[in-house]
């Protein structure tokens, strides 16, 4: 039996999210206080040595990203921090849980991150439909200003930092960091071409650090308690904890924070209460629409960035959608492919045409095409072509659910 290890979620359900005093009583803003006495570069080192990797999906080293951002363009007058709070990956709601239940935590993390790269201005780009998270964040920002944790000369340190809330307006693609920057500037959400990365030319062409809400929420604790404390959690290459959001056919769907390296079996049976009606497990979609299907052969694999990648699966955002025997992997795959078609911005041909074709071809799998095996192989090939020729990572995503579904559930996809 594993237990949850609540670090990032320690205050959830235990404090009133609207009360900054509650947060302070729960050792809130201690990380910031300590950070302001440290040299900015030593904060970056601390985060780097703690081995923190981005929780937005890609798992890039947070310390390295900070280092790049703090070093690029020394002559630039302004640096920015952008909080990616545009959570939209199907099956994912970890950031919403943090924002609704402990909004000061990610704001504190944002201020520390800003101080470490010497950014004096930050934006939170929050999903427009997350009304409760928006309300909580608004109040938390106002209270943090009132108590001197934001604004000029924070806690007498001489460090100034302004934080502004910006709302998204219903585009999944705007969760992609470069597209988000366009949207932040008040434009349509068309992706920018990488490179340059945000660290070099981000919002308003200035060096910008883009981090996910969960990533930033981990920073106050790493600073307050030190990297040694953090290093006790997780595995060598995937440190710390991860919040998984588990949904579908389990008895207790919800959010669970566990140490990196837990297995899917532990997550489903130890924490989420097992399968509804104790029916047999069939599959899980891990990481959302831009994620991968797995079958029971993966139940005992340790969930770390690298181990899952090696096995052809993804950790992604931490979404786990559980299917029981009798549920249709075909329907789920079809749903994911429709999602990509719907969310493709249409700017480049491979993705615009490809997402439409994949949906059509998936329908054809059910419409009595004679050679279904060839069709399925062709779909995987097309998705591969899309992945290599699309402008942005959205076009590189459909291959993930498609290829994994085709790998584990070939006969179901071809059957009808």
């Amino acid at each position: 039996m594993i237990q949850e290890t609540r670090i990032t979620l320690k205050n959830v359900g235990n404090i009133n999210p609207e009360s900054i005093d509650d947060y302070l009583a729960a050792e809130g803003y201690q990380g910031l206080k300590k950070a302001l006495t440290m040299e900015p570069f030593s904060i970056i080192d601390e985060v780097m040595d703690a081995g923190l990797r981005g929780r937005g999906g890609a798992g890039f080293s947070t310390g390295t990203k900070k280092k790049f951002t703090s070093r690029s363009c020394q002559s630039c007058p302004q640096r920015y921090v952008v909080v990616n709070a545009d959570e939209g990956e199907p099956g994912t709601f970890k950031d919403r849980i943090i924002m609704e239940n402990d909004p000061h935590l990610y704001i504190e993390g944002t201020i520390i991150a800003a101080y470490s790269i010497n950014a004096t201005k930050g934006f939170i780009y929050l999903r427009g439909e997350y009304y409760d998270a928006i309300r909580m964040t608004r109040k938390a920002i106002a209270d943090a200003y009132a108590k001197g944790y934001l604004g000029k000369n924070i806690l007498g340190s001489g460090f100034d930092f302004d934080l502004e809330l910006k709302l998204g307006a219903g585009s999944y693609l705007c969760g992609e960091e470069l597209t988000m920057l366009e949207s932040l500037e008040g434009k349509r959400g068309y992706p920018r071409i990488k490179p340059p990365f945000p660290a070099e030319k981000g919002v308003f062409n200035a060096p910008t650090l883009v981090n996910n809400v969960e990533t930033l929420s981990t920073i106050p604790l790493i600073i307050a308690k030190g990297k040694e404390w953090y290093l006790q959690f997780g595995t060598e290459r995937s440190r710390g904890t991860k919040i998984f959001t588990i949904s579908g056919k389990v008895k207790k769907p919800g959010f669970y924070e566990v140490q990196m390296g837990a297995t899917l079996r532990q997550l489903i049976w130890d924490l989420a209460g097992g399968m509804i009606g104790d029916k047999p497990f069939k599959a899980a979609l891990m990481g959302g629409a831009a994620g991968t299907f797995v079958d029971e052969s993966m139940l005992d694999e340790r969930m770390t960035y690298d181990n899952l990648k090696e096995k052809g699966a993804t950790l992604g955002s931490g979404a786990v959608i559980v299917l029981e025997e009798g549920d249709s992997v075909y329907d789920m795959l079809y749903n994911c492919l429709r999602f990509f078609k719907h969310e493709s911005c249409g700017k480049c041909v491979p993705c615009r045409v490809g997402t439409t074709m994949l949906v059509k071809e998936t329908e054809m799998l059910r419409k009595g095409v004679r050679d279904k095996k060839t069709l399925l192989d062709q779909m995987v090939k097309e998705a591969g072509l899309m992945a290599s020729s699309s402008l942005c990572p959205l076009g590189q995503s459909p291959i993930l659910p498609l290829k994994s579904a085709a790998r584990y559930f070939t006969s179901e996809l071809m059957g009808g």
Partner: protein
């Protein structure tokens, strides 16, 4: 006269088992438009924001939220463009790009039904079908009296309690046929 007529119609509309469409088709739409609530002028709204392009989305949100029919009018777009010194076509392009913005009138209550994987897995399709049936419209449409608009949405981040929908800024989870009926009849009376 109009007021009396309006009153009678309201009684009809709020009749629990009434189907919006059946009643509304016989009623001139202008009589059943919801009353503007606490409307601010466009200028008052614009004045709350600094005239910077990066405020465009926030401005469009505010203008749309302020309109009783939850949409961006031609005038609103021009005023926003003028205020930010942008071309009207670029503001239009932005408004059109984002799915939360509407360029045509919508209902007082916008129902967003999640059609993403978890909700589909948990029988969300039945919820959508039931809503279409009860309201007499299909996704993308507004009831003739302008009370409800029905829209499909991607994952609302409520998957642990799927299937889910939102009505304006409120979330409704664990939907089944009984709950959908309860919620809708409550909003019919609102």
């Amino acid at each position: 006269m109009a007021a009396v007529f309006h009153c009678i119609i309201q009684i009809f509309i709020t009749f629990p088992n009434a189907k919006e469409t059946a009643l509304c088709t016989v009623i001139p739409v202008r009589f059943c438009k919801p009353n503007p609530y606490g409307n601010m002028s466009t200028k008052e709204i614009l004045d709350k924001f600094e005239a910077r392009q990066d405020n465009l989305l926030m401005i469009l949100h505010a203008l749309q939220d302020n309109h009783p029919q939850n949409y961006l009018t031609e005038e609103a777009l021009s005023d926003a463009a003028k205020y930010l010194k942008l071309t009207k076509s670029s503001v239009y392009g932005v408004a059109k790009y984002y799915s939360m913005f509407s360029l045509k009138p919508r209902g007082k209550y916008i129902i967003r039904v999640c059609v993403s994987p978890v909700c589909e897995l948990m029988k969300g399709k039945e919820v959508l079908a039931q809503l279409e049936e009860t309201l007499g419209i299909i996704a993308g449409e507004t009831t003739p009296c302008g009370r409800f608009s029905l829209e499909i949405a991607e994952c609302l981040g409520q998957c642990q309690e799927a299937p889910s929908m939102m009505i304006n800024d409120k979330v409704f989870n664990h939907l089944d046929s009984k709950k959908v009926n309860e919620v809708i009849s409550k909003y019919r009376h609102k």
